[in-house]
Symmetry: C2
Subunit: 459 residues, 2 copies
């Protein structure tokens, strides 16, 4: 029996138990952004700690930060061929709008091929798939690869303590290459590897007009309404071509090369299908770019939330004192989040009427990143995916942001390989998030294969 | 002892008890717009019922509607000189933002000259001042005026059942003139009478983009964000001169005559003081009009509330499915609320991208009104105010809306006289609402005086 046969068999035999483990993991509401869930986030870290202890890892530790803790777990191989740093996160997004969920977000439910629950696709299933692979391997044979897991609880809030953690534990985290499991494939039968990630700059803008809420009949029409001003500012952030109007915003954005446009055009994508997924009759974006280019290779600005005045049921004739918006920008390589904040401040100074006071705060930021497609480790990932799917993976630039990829590069000098088995329509961050389970099983086999390839390459 | 001396003495002797009664009345949270307060609204109606019963009124009745009930109370004079219909409302606005209150909104608190509490100025104190005057009068002598009170519980939600009520009870409500106590004066020493009221058309606009909330990194930049579209629509509702851009909006608005502009310019008003009251460094409004004209004589459009996407603490990278705004317009004579809805729909059809679905609903509407300044009843009110304040009242056009004034005219053929002792900076509809108590006491005397003048005029 080949090692491939052995772990494949193990995965089949243990699949039901794996699903039970995943359900238990998803059922803990580890919402990192809501302070009331703090204890649940900690409980999730302890769940992982126990899981690694059960696998007889040599060093398992809850490592505290100024926010939610990280889980560190180490498997010490004798005479290791290489050291692999495996990154994941165990925190999840909030569930609102909760009434749009068809199942309870924290009662994971299997319907058809999918498991539904908050955080299952982003990224509890992705993380466990990799750990299940380790378990399957170790149950059959020793692994000549030194493994170091760092699993954080603050990815969904922008990993505010990760840089400090990396700086403080450079020795502990020494490795040859990093494996980041927070990724997906384009379709159940189309393997792919992200090689570019966008950065993120997420702001909160608060405007203040009158010193308190006023009666709109008595005061309306005589002063600036902060909601009107906020709307005007947001309306002015894009021009008629869908371009962002912040001064200097595109200064560092490199034009797409013909070669890159060709590479991106090979990604199977249908605008019609995209319309179906989002449920809209038309797409819209920056003029002159395809949807695939708009997603991964061009920067964007989206208002993620807005609030002001009376938002309850019914009518209240109030002229509000305040209005707020959450505004985030996705950045492409060479754009620096710190500079983006300067540009936004300049925009507000130029455009906001002086009698409206504004306050801008940064929720989180992360730099964009590009990965090395030519390394032997990347080659191992490509081979593992090809073997499982029967075709070579496509390479794509992700619309999302995974700040840790840039930080691992900068602080530890580690290149990352991104793998994962989420799908574009898994509904992550929205209601009815789900994970395709047959695809997840393929993922577990890919991670086993990846170990095998790394061993072959490094022998 | 003159009758004036008698009731003045009675008011002095009973003032502490009056304040206790007012406190009790204000302490019941009769928030008509919030369904959970329904029982409190009913409790408030019963409180009034008991109060009128204590005054030995001949007919006191809770009259049910499809919404909150009205209180009807009748004092039957023998050989009445005239019949006076007295209008008031006992419902109040919600309290949010509650954290900006310095006292508990429903624990009325006296600090200095003022009593603080939700609804005290709008209009529980205004209503009780008139009832206290009746009580003071009746304690001293019979009143040869037939009184009919109608006190509704739905004014703050646009009086949705008032028109039906008036149509159903035309005989019961027969009178010579109406007294509407839902008004104020310009300053503690400047009596005034509103002779014009603006109408109101209050809408809720909901936009829907993608079928559910999406991840802003994966989908952002490829479709219309409903928050962006809502902001663009709102930004386009005014032009650079502060004029409203809905098609046909100004069609029925009559230009202000020189005579009216002169009348309005006599109202003591200081833009500097207005800035202090609102707490802003600049005023802003429709170009070409003074602040006083903008308040009462020109139509306005204000967004009273906006919400969409993630509005909690922290960051969530969501591309929202929906965004909503509450948009209200104040209308001047000849503008019809029903037409305004058509114009708004036309604006949305012209301006909203087709892939964004919109839904517009009308929360409430009321027509504008102008009152007769030349009637003998109005003369009685003018004399009563002049006697108490030592100077003649000013005449002004109110920025607010009191739909019942137009309905009483249209359905019962009754002209209204508006009196009241609120002040422009009482903070109605906002936090820390309060009522000036020495001014309120003058108000009680004015209402007694008003009875006396009505009797003299009609003898």
């Amino acid at each position: 029996m080949s090692i491939w046969d052995k772990y494949s068999l193990y995965i089949e035999k243990n699949w039901e138990q794996f699903l039970e483990d995943l359900k238990e993991f998803v059922s803990i509401p580890s919402i990192s952004t809501l302070p009331t869930y703090k204890v649940e986030v900690l409980r999730t870290a302890h769940w992982l700690e126990k899981y690694f202890q059960k696998l007889n890892f040599h060093h398992v530790e809850i490592m505290h930060t100024d926010g939610h803790p990280l889980v560190f777990a180490e498997y010490k191989a004798s005479n290791p061929l290489l050291t692999l740093l495996i990154y994941g996160h165990y925190d999840v997004q909030p569930v609102d709008p909760e009434h749009e969920w068809e199942t309870k977000p924290f009662q994971p439910t299997i319907k058809g091929d999918c498991m539904y629950g908050r955080g299952v696709s982003d990224m509890k299933a992705q993380l466990l798939a990799q750990i299940f692979a380790t378990q399957a391997w170790l149950a059959n044979s020793p692994l000549p690869i030194h493994l170091k897991y760092i699993i954080e609880g603050e990815e969904e809030i922008g990993s505010p303590n990760m840089q400090t953690f990396l700086l403080q534990h450079k020795d502990l985290l020494k490795a040859d290459v990093a494996l980041n499991c927070d990724a997906g494939v384009l379709a159940p039968d189309i393997p792919s590897i992200p090689y570019g990630l966008r950065g993120l700059a997420y702001f909160e803008l608060e405007l203040k007009g009158p010193k308190q809420d006023l009666h709109s009949g008595l005061y309306g029409g005589t002063i600036r309404n902060p909601i009107h001003v906020l709307c005007e500012l947001i309306a002015k952030m894009h021009d008629a071509n869908g371009k962002i109007t912040l001064p200097h915003f595109y200064d560092k954005v490199k034009p797409l090369t013909d070669e890159e446009r060709t590479l991106l055009s090979q990604i199977p994508h249908s605008d019609e299908e995209w319309k179906n997924i989002v449920g809209m009759s038309e797409l819209y974006g920056e003029a002159g770019y395809s949807t695939v280019e708009r997603i991964g290779a061009r920067p964007t600005l989206e208002v993620n939330g807005i609030t002001g005045g009376f938002t309850g049921e019914g009518a209240k004739t109030v002229l509000p004192s305040k209005a707020r918006a959450k505004i985030s920008m996705r950045l492409v390589p060479e754009q620096e989040p710190e500079k983006i904040e300067e540009y936004l401040r300049e925009f507000l100074l130029q455009r906001c009427p002086t009698e409206i006071k504004w306050n801008l705060s940064l929720h989180s930021c992360s730099p964009p990143a590009l990965m090395n497609l030519k390394s032997p480790y990347m080659q191992s990932a490509i081979t593992a995916l090809s073997k499982e799917f029967g075709c070579a993976p496509l390479f794509r630039r992700e619309g999302g942001s995974v700040p840790v990829v840039a930080w691992l590069q900068k602080i530890l000098g580690l290149d990352s390989i991104m793998l994962g088995f989420a799908l574009p329509d898994d509904g992550i961050h929205g209601p009815n998030e789900h994970q395709n389970l047959p695809l997840l099983k393929r993922g577990v086999r890919v991670y086993c294969s990846f170990y095998e390839e790394l061993m072959n390459t490094n022998k």
